[in-house]
């Protein structure tokens, strides 16, 4: 059971980070495309990764 939990946690972490990058990075990409700038993408990626790591800490690091 615990090995399966590890497997689940592994893919959950991967999924969180992927969706963090996709969502906030996508928003940043859209803002860049709309406003003709080039820093929103980087900011969005960093924000997405940061919030994904925060979420992972909430889910797995707290207890």
């Amino acid at each position: 059971m615990s090995a399966k939990n590890d497997e689940n946690a592994f893919w959950t972490i991967f999924g969180y980070m992927l969706s963090g990058l996709l969502i906030w990075g996508g928003i940043g990409y859209g803002l860049d495309w709309w406003l003709d700038t080039d820093f929103f993408l980087l900011g969005g990626l960093l924000l997405g990764m940061g919030s994904a790591l925060y979420l992972i800490w909430l889910r797995f690091g707290r207890e």
Binding site: M1, K4, E7, N8, W11, T12, F14, G15, Y16, L18, S19, G20, L22, I23, W24, L47, G48, G50, S51, A52, Y54, L55, L58, R59, R62
Partner: protein, 263 residues
């Protein structure tokens, strides 16, 4: 940044490395786009699974025959290891689905190394997409049935014990994970493993065959290519079983997550 190397005109001479086009098999009957090898293999796998398990279950005895033992150990593995140990006391409701999923994916994957068939059905991306879509609907349906739509969505979107402003950052991630990333990774993991494995085998077998047609020095090297291809075939068998297992395990874990109360 794109790079181009001068290989114009090589396609018709020398070695054509296998590429994604090799997965595009033409239909057997002209104009009938359903009569392709992957679709036929999928039907064939259903036939194999049904015949095998009906034969195995028909004469069930207390002292099992070899066939019955084989059937029962596969079923027992899925039911106990993937059902009972993961889902808990409600596992019997989901054992049929998990068992169907596991055997279907396993047989279709193993087609990749069976001689004369040698095409993993799951290397065509539509099959994993459909399987992941079914899993997606199953676990969301179960979650909605168990908690009600509002409470289920609330459970996904707001995890407890977080300061309010942080929800702006986290809620989109949770939603994207549950509704986009989960089915996407589920299908693409299976697809990519089968695709890459088949391509790898093609490279070594076709490469060995091409070396065999070269000068004498190349002929001496080609057996090594075939040896690697055989070793990779066993490796592929391992990967195929593992991918069927992981797909079913993650389905069971998602169902568990949808059933869980704290959520």
């Amino acid at each position: 940044m794109r790079v181009y190397a001068a290989t114009e005109g090589v396609k018709d001479e020398g070695f054509n490395p296998p590429d994604a086009g090799d997965f595009n098999l033409p239909p057997f009957i002209d104009g009938n786009s359903f009569a392709t090898k992957p679709i036929l293999l999928a039907f064939f796998s259903v036939l194999i699974i049904s015949v095998f398990f009906i034969l195995a279950a028909r004469k069930s005895a207390v002292v099992p025959s070899k066939l019955q033992f084989a059937g029962e150990s596969i079923y027992g593995f899925v039911r106990n290891d993937l059902g009972r140990d993961v889902i808990g006391h409600e596992f019997m409701r989901f054992a049929p689905y998990l068992f169907t999923l596991f055997t279907f994916i396993l047989v279709n994957n193993v087609f990749g190394i069976v001689p004369f068939i040698q095409f993993p059905t799951m290397s065509r991306v539509s099959f994993p997409y459909v399987l992941a879509a079914i899993t997606f609907f199953v676990f969301h349906y179960i979650g909605v049935r168990r908690h009600g739509l509002i409470a289920y969505l609330k459970g996904i979107m707001f995890i407890p014990g977080v300061p309010k402003p942080a929800y702006i950052l986290i809620t989109p991630l949770e939603l994207a994970t549950y509704f986009i990333v989960r089915p996407m990774t589920l299908s693409l993991r299976l697809f990519a493993n089968m695709f890459a494995g088949h391509l790898l085998l093609l490279v070594f077998i076709l490469g060995g065959e091409h070396l065999l047609q070269g000068v004498i020095g190349l002929k001496l090297v080609s057996p090594f290519s075939f040896v690697v291809a055989i070793a990779l075939t066993f490796f592929e068998f391992m990967v195929q079983c593992l991918q069927a297992y992981i797909f079913t395990l993650l389905t069971a874990l998602y169902i568990t997550g949808a059933l869980a109360d704290e959520h």
